[in-house]
C-alpha cells in the first residue's frame, strides 16, 4: 500500500526543512524524507553548526592566550575533548530536536529512510529495518545536498578523515595535513591548531580560499603562516602511504617539499559533490549532470515541471543560506505564488581567525568580466574598535561600479567579518551607491564603521585616513 501526499521533500537539511515547513504553512500535505535519524542535514549535524561550536571554543582559548600581551595572564587551559565534543553534540541535538518539533507542530510527516524515485509520481523509501514504502506525490522537492569528495588515491585508514570525522576530535595532538586550503579545511585547521595539533595545509591554487580576492585573504594567510607548520601553495598530494607509525605523504608542486613527509592524520577537504546521482532521478525523468547537479529554472523547477530541486544539488555556491530561500521559493511556487529566486548576491564566509567574508562581485571576477570598477579600501589599523580588540590586521574593501557608483561587491577580513558582510549584501540588494553608505551614520566605535569608512575612501571624503592627491583608488 502506498502513502499519498501532495508534496514530498527529499532531504531535511536547511533547504529541505524550510521547503517542507513553508509548503505546510501554505496548506499543503507534506512528507519529509530523511535518510539519517537526526533531521537538519549536513549543516546542523556535521557542518555549519558543530564546526561553529568548536570554533567558538577555539576562539576563546586563543583570545585568552592573547590577553597576556595586555597584562592579563590565564593559566594554560586543560582541554577535555570528550566534554567539548559532548557540548558540541548538545548544541546539535538542541537544533535538530527543534527541527523535529517544528515538523510535528506543522503536521509535516517525517519518514526516516533512503528515498529513490520509481516513477515521476512515486518514491520508494527504504527504512533502516529494510522495510520499503511507496510515497505517491503530486509535487516533489529534491533537497539531497552534497557529500565530501574523496581523493581516489587515498588509502582506507582511520587516520584519514573528512570534515565529518574531523568534528569528532578523536585526536588533537601530533601533526595533521589538511588537503585543501578552502573554507572547510581552514576552519577545521583553526580548531585543531588551537587544541594543540601541528597543522600543514596543501592547496592546489596560488592562494588559500581561492574564491576570495587575494588582498582580502592576505591577513589570514599571514596569521596562519606564522602559526602553522607549513602552507604549501600551488601544490598537490600525489601519494599517501599508510604505515603503522604514520602516514607518509608525497607532494608535487612549487611550494612542496621534495621528500615525503610523515603525518599522524590527514583531513581531506578538497570540495563537495552534489548528491543528484543518489536518488534514481532518471526514473522520474529528472536530468542529472555528470557532477551530480540538477539544473533548475528561477522557480527551482527541474526539467520535470512538477519536480523541484534546491540547495547544494542545484549548483554552487553550496551554502545553507542559499538553500533556505530556494526551498522557500520552491514551496511557494508549488502553492501557486508567483515567486522567483531573484537574489542579486549571496555572501560567503570563512569562520577562520580572522574571518574572511565576501559578497557580490569580487575584484577577480570584475577583472574577468571587464566590469569597470573602483574600490574603497579601509584598513582596520585605523579603526579604534579594531585596535581595542587587539586585531588591527583586518581590511574592509568595497567594490564599486565606476559609472553608477553603486556598490557591487565587498570583501572583509577580520574578526566578525561574517556578521559585517550582511550590511553590504543589503546595500547591493537595495542598489545603494557608495555615498548612501557613507552618509548612513554608523555607531562608533564599531567594526561596522569600517564599511562606511571604506565608502568614504571611495568618495574621497575620508578624514580618518590621510590620502594625499589620489582621490580614489581607481582600477580598470
Amino acid at each position: 500500500m502506498s502513502i499519498q501526499t501532495e508534496v514530498v521533500v527529499i532531504g531535511s537539511g536547511p533547504g529541505g526543512y524550510t521547503a517542507a515547513f513553508r509548503a505546510a504553512d501554505l496548506g499543503k500535505k507534506v512528507i519529509l524524507i530523511e535518510r539519517y535519524t537526526s533531521l537538519g542535514g549536513v549543516c546542523l549535524n556535521v557542518g555549519c553548526i558543530p564546526s561553529k561550536a568548536l570554533l567558538h571554543a577555539a576562539k576563546v582559548i586563543d583570545e585568552a592566550a592573547e590577553l597576556s600581551e595586555c597584562g592579563v595572564q590565564f593559566g594554560k587551559p586543560t582541554i577535555d575533548t570528550k566534554k567539548l565534543v559532548e557540548w558540541k553534540n548538545s548544541v546539535v541535538a538542541k537544533l535538530t530536536g527543534g527541527v523535529k518539533t517544528l515538523a510535528k507542530v506543522r503536521k509535516v510527516e517525517v519518514m526516516i529512510g533512503v528515498a529513490q524515485f520509481v516513477s515521476d509520481h512515486e518514491i520508494e523509501v527504504t527504512m533502516k529495518d529494510g522495510k520499503k514504502e511507496i510515497v505517491q506525490f503530486q509535487q516533489a522537492i529534491i533537497a539531497v545536498g552534497s557529500r565530501p569528495v574523496t581523493l581516489p588515491f587515498l588509502p582506507e585508514d582511520p587516520r584519514i578523515i573528512d570534515s565529518t570525522g574531523a568534528l569528532e576530535l578523536n585526536q588533537v595532538s601530533g601533526n595533521m595535513l589538511v588537503i585543501g586550503g578552502g573554507i572547510i579545511g581552514l576552519e577545521m585547521a583553526t580548531v585543531y591548531h588551537t587544541l594543540g595539533t601541528d597543522i600543514t595545509v596543501v592547496e592546489l591554487m596560488d592562494q588559500i580560499i581561492p574564491g576570495a580576492d587575494q588582498d582580502v585573504v592576505m591577513p589570514l594567510y599571514k596569521r596562519i603562516k606564522g602559526r602553522y607548520k607549513n602552507i604549501y601553495l600551488k601544490s598537490k598530494v600525489t601519494k599517501v602511504e599508510a604505515k603503522k607509525e604514520g602516514l607518509y605523504v608525497t607532494f608535487e608542486g612549487e611550494g612542496a617539499p621534495q621528500k615525503p613527509e610523515k603525518f599522524d592524520r590527514i583531513l581531506c577537504a578538497v570540495g563537495r559533490r552534489a548528491n543528484g546521482d543518489q536518488i534514481n532521478a532518471a526514473k522520474a525523468g529528472v536530468t542529472v549532470d555528470d557532477r551530480g547537479f540538477i539544473a533548475v529554472d528561477k522557480q527551482m523547477r527541474t526539467n520535470v515541471p512538477h519536480i523541484y530541486a534546491i540547495g547544494d544539488v542545484v549548483g554552487n555556491p553550496m551554502l545553507a543560506h542559499k538553500a533556505m530561500p530556494e526551498g522557500r521559493v520552491a514551496a511557494e511556487v508549488i502553492a501557486g505564488l508567483k515567486h522567483y529566486f531573484d537574489a542579486k548576491c549571496i555572501a560567503s564566509v570563512a569562520y577562520t581567525d580572522p574571518e574572511v567574508a565576501w559578497v557580490g562581485v569580487t575584484e577577480n571576477e570584475a577583472k574577468a568580466k571587464s566590469i569597470k570598477y573602483a574600490k574603497g579600501v579601509f584598513p582596520w589599523a585605523a579603526s579604534g574598535r579594531a585596535l581595542s580588540i587587539g586585531r588591527s590586521e583586518g581590511l574592509t574593501k568595497l567594490i564599486i561600479d565606476e559609472t553608477t557608483h553603486r556598490i557591487i561587491g565587498a570583501g572583509i577580513v577580520g574578526p566578525n567579518a561574517g556578521e559585517l558582510i550582511a550590511e553590504v549584501a543589503l546595500a547591493i540588494e537595495m542598489g545603494c551607491d557608495a555615498g548612501d553608505v557613507a552618509l548612513t551614520i554608523h555607531p562608533h566605535p564599531t567594526l561596522s564603521e569600517t564599511i562606511a569608512l571604506a565608502a568614504e575612501v571611495f568618495e574621497g571624503t575620508i578624514t580618518d585616513l590621510y590620502m594625499p592627491k589620489k582621490k580614489m583608488d581607481k582600477v580598470g
Binding site: K338, Y340, G431
Partner: protein, 435 residues
C-alpha cells in the same frame, strides 16, 4: 594589453517603447568604426539605422531580425582595443530628440503619425511567462519590489522610479499597474475581439500570398485601433463650389506660369481653418485621462497622401498663416517627399485635423477614420454638376461632396452638422474667408 568586451546598446529612442529589428548589418568578426551602422530598427513611425558608439571587432550579435528591443537592450558586444576604451562615451541619441534636426536614416517610411502619449500606452504589461528567466539584476529596486513585480508580471525595466536615484518604489509599481488598468478600462489597449476563423482559400481556386507593405501593416494597426476605440459619426454634406472653381480656373493660366498647381484642396484647407476657428473644440484632443480637452492654438492640417506603398499623412503646419500659393507649393513638395519615402517622423506629427481627398478619383461619399489624437477628419469626394433649385428654377451648380467623421465623445451631432454647414458656406463664397 588585454582587449575589453563592450556592450553596444539600443540608444534612447525618444519615447518609443520598443522597436523591431528588421535588419542586422554586422556579423561576428567584423571590424567596425564609430558610427558604423549595426542594425536597422523599425518603430511605429519610421525605420532607422543604429550606428555603433565604439570601434572594435564584433564579438557577438545579440539580436536577430524580428526581435523587439527597448532602450538599453544589448545589440552586439564588441572587443574594443585599449585605445578606444578611453573614448567610450555613453551612447548618443542618433534619432533626434529635437525634431527640427534631420534624421540620419537612409530611407524613412512612415505612416499616420502617432502622439507620444499613445506610444507610452502601448507599453503593454508583459505576460509573466516571459519574465521567468529574465533577470532583474540591472533594475534599481529592492528585493521586495522585485518580488511584487514578479507576482504582478510587470517588467520593472518599463517603470521609472521616483525614489532616490530613480529607485523603483512599491508605490511606483502600484501606480504603473493602476495606470495600465485604467487604460484597459477606458478602452485603450482593449483586448482584441475573438479571432477570425482561418480559411483555406485554395479550396476555392488558385491563390497567391503577398506580403502587406510595411506601411500597410503599421497603419493597419492604427486604423484598427482608432476604428474600434473612437466612437465615430460621419456627417455628409455638399458644398457649392461653382464660384470657387470659376476663380480657380481664372487663376490657372497665371498660376501655371508660376509653376504652382492651385488645387481645390488648398481652398478646402483654408476653409477648414476658418471653420476650426469658429468651432475650437474640433481643433482639440482628449487628454490621457479622457477628462480634459487639449485646445490647440495652432492650425496644422494632415493631408492624406496616396503612395505606392500605402497611405501616409504629412502635416502642413500653420495653415492659417500661409497664402494659397504657399500652401499649394508646400503641398506639392510634401506629396513628392511622401512618394519618395523622404518624410521625417516630425513631418508626420502634430496635426490638428486631417483631410483625405479622393476627389481626383471619383465616388460620391465615404466614411474616413479619425486620425487619433485628432477628433475629426474631412473626406472629400469628386465634385460634379447637379441641378440645384434656386429662385424658382433649377440651375447647374458644381457640388463638392463632403464627409466629416468626428469623435462623438468630443463633438456632438448638432455641432458636426453646424461645422459642415459652416465649411460649405466658406467654400460657397471664398470671400467669406476674408471675413
Amino acid at each position: 594589453m588585454a582587449l575589453a568586451l563592450k556592450n553596444i546598446t539600443t540608444p534612447d529612442l525618444g519615447g518609443a517603447p520598443d522597436v523591431t529589428v528588421i535588419e542586422v548589418l554586422v556579423k561576428p568578426g567584423d571590424k567596425i568604426d564609430v558610427d558604423t551602422p549595426i542594425v536597422t530598427f523599425e518603430s511605429d513611425k519610421a525605420t532607422m539605422e543604429i550606428p555603433t558608439t565604439d570601434a572594435g571587432t564584433v564579438n557577438e550579435v545579440k539580436v536577430k531580425v524580428g526581435d523587439k528591443v527597448a532602450n538599453g537592450s544589448v545589440l552586439i558586444t564588441i572587443e574594443t582595443g585599449v585605445a578606444t576604451e578611453s573614448a567610450a562615451v555613453p551612447l548618443a541619441v542618433k534619432e533626434p530628440k529635437q525634431p527640427e534636426k534631420s534624421v540620419p536614416e537612409k530611407s524613412i517610411t512612415a505612416t499616420i503619425e502617432e502622439p507620444k502619449t499613445v506610444s507610452q500606452s502601448d507599453v503593454v504589461i508583459t505576460p509573466p511567462e516571459t519574465l521567468i528567466e529574465q533577470s532583474m539584476s540591472d533594475v534599481h529596486a529592492g528585493p521586495g519590489v522585485r518580488r511584487l513585480a514578479r507576482e504582478l508580471g510587470v517588467n520593472l525595466a518599463s517603470i521609472l522610479g521616483s525614489g532616490p536615484k530613480q529607485r523603483i518604489l512599491k508605490e511606483d509599481l502600484q501606480e504603473f499597474v493602476k495606470s495600465q488598468l485604467s487604460q484597459l478600462q477606458s478602452g485603450v489597449n482593449a483586448p482584441s475581439l475573438s479571432a477570425l476563423p482561418v480559411i483555406d482559400f485554395s479550396k476555392f481556386g488558385p491563390i497567391e500570398s503577398q506580403k502587406l507593405s510595411r506601411i500597410k501593416k503599421i497603419s493597419g494597426n492604427h486604423l484598427k485601433r482608432n476604428w474600434a476605440m473612437i466612437p465615430h459619426v460621419t456627417q455628409f454634406g455638399e458644398a457649392d463650389i461653382t464660384a470657387m472653381e470659376d476663380f480657380r480656373q481664372a487663376q490657372k493660366a497665371e498660376m501655371d506660369k508660376q509653376r504652382v498647381k492651385l488645387t481645390p484642396l488648398v481652398f478646402i484647407m483654408k476653409a477648414v481653418v476658418a471653420s476650426l476657428k469658429v468651432f475650437p473644440h474640433v481643433n482639440a484632443s482628449l487628454d490621457a485621462t479622457g477628462e480634459n480637452l487639449v485646445m490647440k492654438k495652432y492650425f496644422h492640417l494632415g493631408v492624406a497622401v496616396d503612395t505606392p506603398d500605402g497611405l501616409v499623412v504629412p502635416v502642413i503646419r500653420d495653415v492659417d498663416k500661409k497664402g494659397l500659393t504657399d500652401l499649394a507649393d508646400e503641398l506639392a513638395q510634401v506629396s513628392e517627399k511622401a512618394r519618395n519615402k523622404q518624410l521625417t517622423p516630425y513631418e508626420m506629427q502634430g496635426g490638428c485635423f486631417s483631410i483625405s481627398s479622393l476627389g481626383g478619383i471619383g465616388g460620391t461619399a465615404f466614411t474616413p477614420i479619425i486620425n487619433f489624437p485628432e477628433v475629426a477628419i474631412l473626406g472629400v469626394s469628386k465634385s460634379s454638376y447637379k441641378p440645384v433649385y434656386q429662385d424658382g428654377t433649377f440651375v447647374p451648380r458644381l457640388m463638392l461632396p463632403l464627409s466629416l467623421s468626428y469623435d462623438h465623445r468630443v463633438v456632438d451631432g448638432a455641432d458636426g452638422a453646424r461645422f459642415i454647414v459652416h465649411l460649405s458656406n466658406m467654400l460657397l463664397d471664398i470671400r467669406n474667408l476674408l471675413l
